[in-house]
Amino acid sequence: MACPQARFSSPSVSPVVRLRPHPLRVALVGNPNVGKSVLFERLTGRYATVSNYPGTTVAVTRGRALVGAEVCEIIDTPGVTTLDGHLSEDEEVTRRVLARGEAELVVHVADARSLRRTLLLSAQLAAFELPTILVLNMADEARAHGIVIDRDALEEELGIPVVETVAVDGRGMGDLRAALASGAILKKVAGQVNGDAVVWARRVAERCRRRSGVRVARWQERFATLARNPWSGVPILLVTLYVMYLFVGVFGAQFLVGLLEETAFGAYLNPWAAAAVERSVPFAFVQDLLTGPYGLISMGLTYAIAIVLPVVATFFLIFGLLEDSGYIPRVAIFSDRMFRAMGLNGKAVLPMVLGLGCDTMATMTTRILHTRKERLIAILLLALGIPCSAQLATIMGILGGISFAALVTLFGVVMAQMFLVGFLAARIVPGERSEFILELPPIRRPRLANVATKTLLRVRWYLGEAVPLFLIGTFFLFVMDRVGALAWVTAAAEPLVTGLLGLPAATAGVFIMGFLRRDYGAAGLFVLAQNHELSGVQAVVALTVMTLFVPCVAHFLMIVKEQGLKTGLAIVGVVTPIAIFTGALLNHAFKVFGIEF
């Protein structure tokens, strides 16, 4: 293979060591879902979340890479379908990186199969007048589709180095590193395009791309067909949900939680900690703080590690598998009509499903939606009705132990409530929804290494995020209990909690925990249910209120960050009364119709 440096580096610049005030800043730019984040990881050794659907990266990630003797700063950007005209918020993030001189070299990452689309973006990139390298990634998939690209012809047409890679295997990375020193400005393109980029892109694509004509229908394509066809797609969706329930709700929330909570913590750790504290600390106050009813160990750590962690881990594992398979966007085909009634379109299924993992992250992902109205409605619905994995954990743990009907009732009520609020919001919130146009990624076999890395990182993130809050929350409750405030609040909230919602008075304390984190509150309910202090009907009412309740602190802060304090407070102001009203309604309906679980 010819060395690209020889052809493209300008003579005044040594490709190896240049003197700069800062490291060379290299931006990875390209269409969504072409593997920019995989390439980023290959170059920097830093992991950026990788999935098989557009919109995984919605903010910029930076990392350092050593290229030759030079340190480069690599910038992973959100995928763009266009850099011109009406941009979604994540596309705007990328455009700013290019327009504000935050990058000195562009690595245009492309799916080797879609040359024409790639060239349309090249034409837009030319306007930024930055040295550019074109990376044709996923070259193996292109070949499997019978597509062969004439790299030399393409280099000649564009006037920049072109490198073929299979980033997931690390193939072609040597070529890319060599080329990094030698990007050239897309001058030839700018000259050719000015007439009509569409015509130019088609001509160049036709010249540089050959098709062998052999197209093997692999199992992936057969599955893709089955997944999008309504007759087979709906059963596949139901089976997928059921498998998720078995893995997360039964294996995680019942088996693993039982193992950790009853055996590890209940039979060994907590009694052992209580004995150790009693032996070594003579003060009853400190003993209570650590191992009392609101103890940091007996309550805070037990909730976080024994009740919530197993479910979060099992959920993230299966969720990672789904993400990487490319299946999730296909669900959008079935849900588009429903989302349209709520002022959104099928694309909203991505943040909603992501919300089942973590509402905080999902709130940021609403950037992939096109209009302000859509982002606002999606954020409202996430805050209102989408339980995050930690909360799902406790819901499944409690209701799974009561009956399947209880579980179906809860999700039915929450979904109906979301639909109603969405339907009204679509009519009240000013603005427009955008049309549903969604690219479906190819179905791929998930790489277990990536799923494992992603799961571990997310679990670690959960521990870092949730455990401190669980401990702070427990401490807060402990103090409230000590100064008598807990009894006071419980008494004050009693008409609401016991009267309107028909719940035991102790639930008031649990709802206070729910203000901090919904899952923390739900874990409190889990313990109440375990001690048989909640009847089936009470569990459904309490969990419905908790699910519709205000989001956790981190989620609230993210809403404020994305939409401002006013909107954040407005969302809480809308969501809280809805939660309590729905709970009250449910409680009375159960009584009137004599429903028991």
């Binding site: 379908t81 266009t82 011109d84 005209g85 009406h86 799916d111 199969r113 879609s114 024409r116 689309r117 349309l120 973006l121 589709h145 597509i147 569409v198 015509v199 088609r202 893709a224 067909t225 999008r228 066809n229 309504p230 966007p329 296909r330 959008a332 085909i333 079935f334 588009d336 009509r337 349209r340 379109n345 099928g346 096109h370 209009t371 427009e432 955008s434 049309e435 549903f436 146009i437 969604l438 690219e439 479906l440 190819p442």
Partner: protein, 87 residues
Amino acid sequence: MRSRSSASNSEAGGAPRLSSLRAGARGVIRGVVPDANGRVERLAALGVTAGASIEVLQTFPGVVFRCDETELAIEPAVARAILVDES
């Protein structure tokens, strides 16, 4: 509704819409009826431009079609705005 769509149909020289094609049909894009929200640009960025060849994969509940190597799902209103010469 009908009169409006037939009016823009005649403007476009009577080319059939993507929405009228059955699953399995192939064709070449003739153009996209513009709207105020950049529909033409959004589709163009995905490769749906005049001259691109397409294959309809599915028509219900949404339209799914392949354009080059890109598989796209769109709502019926968008399918009605894409003019296609069936081949």
